[in-house]
Amino acid sequence: MKILGKFLILAAGIAVCYLLLLQVNWTSLFQVQQNQVRLESKLGKLVLEQVRDLYDVIEDEQIDSTLDSLFIPLLKENYIPTKNYDLLLVESEEVNAFALPDDKIIVTTALINFLDSADYMSAILAHEIAHCEKNHVMRSLITNFGLDLLLSGSGTGEVTNFLTGQAFSRKLEKEADEMAVEYLEEAHIDPNSLMKVMELFDVYLSSDGDVSWISSHPVPADRKKYLGQKINRIETEPKSYKSPISSKSWSDLQGLVSAYGNQD
């Protein structure tokens, strides 16, 4: 009885302490939300600096303007604020695109030369926007680097390697693919473009090409399967589909990007 009585006193004491602590709005006191935003912004800047060290960033008005013609409608038609988004083109022989913290999206020159149509580029951009909007970048970083990163802020080199490798989990990739279908539909771009990109990568992979974007993602066959199911689920309006830029503008962009590569 003596033990039970003391146990109850101790348990009640701890419970009262917890209830008292619960009365404080800790998330607001510690500015949890604001700190997460600040951390993402800080990390975004650090990783972007590393990307600038690793790759040559192409800054060409004509190229940027064509890319923006593809990128901005995707954001606007989906009511996503364009303010924080940044699309950067980097020179690389790797066919790759990746999202960085703080809504920065990087695409490579090899990717532009690899894709046959502007719609395919829109499909990849929609996929990367989905990663940003669903906060996959920060979620993956926290899962992979956990408290080390949050407490010390060190290891940005590892973070950059991780992000350029795009090793998101299959669950997150599937979520981004499905979200991309919705974004494309809203922007009146054929969502089947994403499936066609998979087919293109599938063929290229069989020829041992260096396609980083796809090698770190679920296999194209699986993606095509669930993308097909997703497209069947949503109400599509094929008649409204229109490419944001003409095929000539796309070819011109590829020409400009190639010429840029040849200059070096």
Binding site: K6, L21, L22, T27, F30, V32, R139
Partner: protein, 147 residues
């Protein structure tokens, strides 16, 4: 944790230097393991269990303190384990950082703080042969060692 000091069953003069050292170490073991094993909450308990098993056939004074240290570690282990898995759930995005979570983390920091201070205090006193009884845990220890 509340401390009730006294030498009810053990007279400091009758306790040898070795006994004092072993009894004192039973508390210190958990502290060392706690700092080595952070943030995993199992190492301090493991260290205390190993020390307890190693001193099962020791004198009554040593056995009593090893048991009290072990029971106290079990109690704190329960709270730390809940906190550890809750943190993992947040890292793996099964849960959000909430007021309930932060309040719980502050609670276990407080409990661990009290446990660490109590452990150091008891270890020092036990080294001098003074019998320190902890609130509730000493009664459970008495009960277990009576059998």
């Amino acid at each position: 944790m509340e401390h009730i000091e006294g030498s009810l069953d053990f007279n400091p003069r009758e306790i040898t230097e070795d006994e004092r050292e072993y009894a004192s170490n039973s508390y210190l073991m958990s502290l060392f393991a706690l700092f080595i094993g952070l943030p995993l909450p199992i190492f301090n308990l493991l260290a205390t269990v190993i020390f307890y098993l190693g001193n099962r056939k020791s004198t009554r004074f040593v056995k009593w303190h090893c048991t009290q240290a072990l029971i106290s570690q079990f109690a704190i282990f329960f709270f730390n384990t809940v906190g550890f898995w809750w943190t993992l759930a947040i890292i793996f995005h099964k849960q959000e950082v909430s007021n309930a979570y932060i309040a719980y983390i502050i609670l276990i920091l407080l409990l661990n703080g009290i446990e660490i201070v109590s452990t150091i205090y008891t270890s020092i006193k036990t080294r001098k042969g003074i019998h320190v009884r902890w609130f509730l845990f000493s009664d459970i220890t008495d009960n277990l060692l009576k059998k």
